[in-house]
């Protein structure tokens, strides 16, 4: 909503200018006869504004409805505003909350009154009538809400995946280090055993002292623990593996645009000399946009 910013800035400036600008404007010249001229709380001392209280009261008497009519004609509720001064105009959230609470409190009071009167005021579930916004519009609203929800979920997933990947990387590096250490240890122990045997003169009874664990066959598998899970990726590949991310993004954009504006049609193949067109006298299917008067945006 790009217009919102402009309008609020304008409001701000109006207030600032009232206080700062010394030159008075021509709005101050009162049009014509007025019984009393009271200078209301003015920003500048030079301005005089018309405020004809008696006239206003007279007009109010003229137009208002009689006092004793039923409340159901007017349906007005007045809401006390406790902390009205605290609502800053420029704080959007607080202002909207104030309006919301005002409407909520008002509706509660009104509903209580209506309930006392015993009038039906709630729409039954099977009452179908014309709504102020069309169904197509509500579809658009719904799709936008779903889209936003999906975006948020995808962002969450992506973040989690990134964290998991970091974790996984750490875990993997740990494992690699462990394996390297183990390998070293085993080699060391073999060397030590050989030395021992040498020292003890190749006697046969030293054979049982070899302490290797042959039960753990995993360490001798090719390509590191568990085998390569992604054989298509070469070891030196740093791009993160398969799946060209760039073209995937463009594809999504293209799909969205196609769904909104329609498929543009094949690039240059509308008039080619192919097998089908050779045998086709008088021209058959003339390509994608054979729809007559098809305007793009209706």
């Amino acid at each position: 909503m790009s217009f919102e910013d402009d309008d609020f800035v304008e409001d701000d400036e109006m207030n600032m200018i009232d206080e700062d600008e010394a030159a008075s404007d021509s709005e101050a010249e009162s049009l014509s006869d007025s019984d009393e001229e009271i200078t209301e709380k003015l920003a500048e001392p030079t301005k005089t504004a018309v405020y004809n209280r008696d006239g206003l009261l007279d007009k109010l008497q003229d137009i208002s409805w009689p006092e004793d009519i039923d409340w159901t004609h007017k349906l007005t509720v007045e809401i006390e505003q406790g902390q009205q001064a605290a609502v800053d105009v420029n704080d959007d959230l607080a202002r909207e909350m104030a309006f919301y609470t005002q409407a909520l409190v008002g509706t509660r009071q009104a509903f209580e009154k209506l309930q006392e009167m015993g009038l039906p005021f709630l729409r039954p579930g099977d009452y179908y009538a014309e709504m102020v916004k069309s169904d197509t519009h509500m579809e658009k609203v719904k799709s936008k809400l779903l889209y936003e929800k999906r975006q948020m979920e995808e962002a969450e997933e992506r973040r989690k995946a990134r964290d998991n990947k970091k974790m996984a990387k750490e875990v993997q590096s740990q494992k690699m280090k462990e394996r390297a250490k183990q390998k070293k240890d085993e080699i060391e122990s073999v060397k030590k055993w050989r030395k021992q045997r040498q020292q003890s003169g190749f006697s046969e009874k030293g054979a049982g002292e070899l302490d290797l664990e042959f039960g753990n066959g995993k360490s001798f598998q090719r390509g590191g623990g568990g085998g390569k899970k992604r054989p298509g990726v070469s070891p030196g590949d740093r791009s993160g593996g398969k799946g060209k991310t760039a073209s995937r993004m463009n594809n999504k954009k293209r799909e969205f645009r196609d769904s909104k504006f329609g498929h543009g049609g094949r690039k240059g193949l509308s008039k080619q000399n192919t097998a089908e067109t050779t045998n086709d006298f008088k021209g058959g299917f003339r390509g994608g946009k054979a729809g007559g008067n098809k305007r793009q945006k209706r």
């Binding site: 600008e21 405020y51 007009k59 039923d70 159901t72 007005t76 007045e78 609502v87 409407a103 709630l122």
Partner: protein, 317 residues
Amino acid sequence: MGKKRKHSETEQAAPLKKDDSAPERPKRTLLGWKDKAQDAEEPKQPAPEFRNKEKVLVTCSRRISFRYRHLMLNIVSLLPHCKKDSKVEAKSSKGATLNELVELKGSSSCLFFECRKHKDLYLWMVKSPSGPSVKFLVNAVHTMEELKLTGNHLKGSRPLLTFSSNFDKDVHWKLLKEMLTQVFGIPKEHRKSKPYHDHVFAFSIVDDHIWFRNYQISVPHNEADKVARGGLDKMTLVEVGPRFCLNPIKIFGGSFGGPTLYENPFYVSPNQIRALEKRNKAGKFAKKIKAKTRKKMHELSNPLEPDEFADMWKDDE
């Protein structure tokens, strides 16, 4: 012509309808179910029976921009007791022409959207025969078509009007409140009005502006005339729109003119704001030139001492 007589006919028929004891099946019309209970409600008052015969004429000036036109169309859809008329020429003495138009259409009030310079929207709210008229400057317009305003309600259902308490603090606010009630409140047994109350208008005064919001009421309920226990606490409001902010400029005694009864002392016209901005910006270049000449004068009057080392590196090229 036949339609105009229908009101008096229903008026005579209404006392007969009061005798229905059992609720009949609601009559089916093209637009929905017409509940008989709505017709049976008649204000029980002393002698003068009050009928709200408010009719609002909604027009705009030519060269109105799209956003404001959509706002006007939104308001037309919100008020079933209004009649939309074609665009009015700008330069004609608009007081006389519009007064005639209002009388011709037989309406009792008028909402005239005047768009100036394709940028500013002024709204005139006028009570017809001799009533007061108010000129507002409209800001912060958001129409119902914005996808962020997700609520929806019956077209033509009568709204509940809520006003903040500072409408009673001063005379001109009281007058505005009365006018807003009469214009935005749908007459009770209007032909095109729908029976249930499922939306609420909120008018509040913040910073001497009138803010308008329209919310849809959603409350869990099973019956049409009773809210479930504790249901009132679960009531939520969803904004339907449109949204706008009115800044009262002047209140006149007559329609579209007449003696000024009230003038807003804080009002600065948008033209002046723009002029001020331009003047501030215009000053920049002049200031720059002045600064340059000042610098030259300063340099002339205080010559620098000759620098001994200035020529040191010159020979090295």
